[in-house]
Amino acid sequence: MRHMVFYEEIDESEVRPAGLLEEYAALSRSEVERLILGGELEDVTCPACGSHKRETAFDRFGLTYRQCRDCLSLYASPRPPESTIYDYYRNSAAELFWHKAMFPATREARLDRIASARATWVCESARELLPNARRFLDIGCHQDGFLREVARTGFFEDIVTVNPLVEVADELPVSVVADRGCVEPLPRADVVSLLESVDRAADVGRLIQGVVNALPAGGLCFVTTTLGSGFDIQALWGDSPIIFPPDRLNLLTVEGWEALASGAGLEIIEFSTPGLFDVEIVRRHREAVRGGLPRFLDYLVGGRDRQVRGEFQQFLQKSRLSSHGRILLRRR
């Protein structure tokens, strides 16, 4: 297994402007109440390891998050079924706000820092590990910039997206096989990407099994995800500002991902946590709330300078302890 550490200083506000993020959170809260809470909700077991053993962790926007006692993953249960989540992403004001306000305001930074970097990761890894790959399948990515960047590399002959989330522009050089979130069976592909898609999947096991069925032996699956084992989530728990349902119904831990991959017949080629913002998120929470952190964390994020915080963030990356995960899986 390999993992990557990223030495760069980025101001979180470049990709998550505070005012816009708060507005998005407020819209998400009201839209979850309007579109999700009144409908059917289903109790589920741990989406990573399937364990029934769990503890109640906290509530967010009216949904209850549980922590698996076996793999320590966090997940919302009971939760909306897939059809409700699909309708949410097609109709919610929060999603509209993301595309009409948040994304345009951060477009340049997101394309440069996120979309382009992810496309490079996908294409260079595929060129290294599966040089004859021809067909790329994206499932539910949140922004078309990524697909545009993948297309621009020219590595894949055919790019397909299964996606209810983006309004795919006519000029985007990809095929849209369906605009629904779940197409079964998924189209066959050599390489699949799940960019934050697992986080919002109603049925993680079904999604992963669909991907496994779509891939040939040796096929690759690229995942980005928010990890429940990450520093800011562990430190802030129910106060974490980045846990939004339904965007983040599932916050698997490193151990949860290992169990999920193993159970699905997937080999983990890379497991990195190249997050840059964990410490900054905790620091901003400390400033806003003024207290509530354990003594050492309070001192670390509030009493030490930017250099120490940066080095601690790098330690989190090296130790796979950041909440931003990127994972490369290969079908056995």
């Binding site: 297994m1 390999r2 993992h3 550490v5 030495y7 294409c123």
Partner: protein, 356 residues
Amino acid sequence: MIRRAQRAGYRNRSDVMMEILRCGVVGYGYMGEIRRAVIERSPRLRLVGICEPNADTRNRVIGCETFETANELLATGLDILFVCVPNALAPDLCIEAMRGDVHVFCEKPPGRTLEDIERIRAAETPAVKLMFGFNHRFHPSVQRAKVIVDSGRLGGIIGVRGVYGKSGGSGFRQSWRNDRTLSGGGILLDQGIHMLDLFRFFCGDFERVKCFTNDSYWNLAVEDNAYVILANDQGQNAFFHSSATLWKHTFQVHVLLEEGYLTVAGLLSRSGSYGRETLTVGKRQFEGETEAVGNPAEELTYFDRDDSWDLEVAEFVRCIDESVPVCISSSQDAWEVMKIIDSAYKDAGRPPENAS
């Protein structure tokens, strides 16, 4: 001859894919053990036997048939012979096997001298595949670096530099590697050849060679240290230090590119003594001259699994299956790198011993 007839009879790839290739290993030292493990892991290969002339070593081989001489092993009807013997013995074994229509996978270096590899190449025919164990090309950090270089996203290569060294250690003086009649050279030929192979992997050939050596610490018949400077007709330069007096085992390759740089450091190995294998990727950032900090953002990837041994043999098997020429770690690669080493030794005032 029977094996040749069988191979000639194959009409399509699927026939070939069905065949399990019968393998023998000659020489059961460090590399022989590694090759045995690779053979036993591969679903396409079957270990027929191991030849080891040293009785004590031979007696500790368990789980397969053993032979005292290579002729006995070759007489079993092999498809592939893995040659894992001291440099002076490798050429004749390669030649003998290829004359018997047996594919050959030979450890580096390909003999002691340029003349040795030329003799081996003279015995090579299109019917047999010959590959050399330039294993470092298949290490994950190097593979990834090559993908990045070939993608062009960091521009063309300006130059490369490297350090590869070890500390010798107990028993170093007694090692056959330091017996010039057996090895043909010192640390440059033993370890430095990997670095030169990587330089060629990234840049292609180098036409001009300068070298300094010294042997002042170990006082053996071969060099302790070699400092090699290279230039090619593409305007690229390269420099490396190959050492048997690096008390901290070190492996580093720096690739300087127009738009950034790559650093391969550490090497996954059985002992782990070269440290964790990493690849650093940096992208050039130009600031104003007065505020230039020269400290761009970097990506550092840690590699924790070494598939290099299996990958290189899988590539060799692919060439056999598909009946295509070996083009990675080929005899051409071996010859080109031995030309550089020959020039380096001559430049340093250490002409090679007569191979005959």
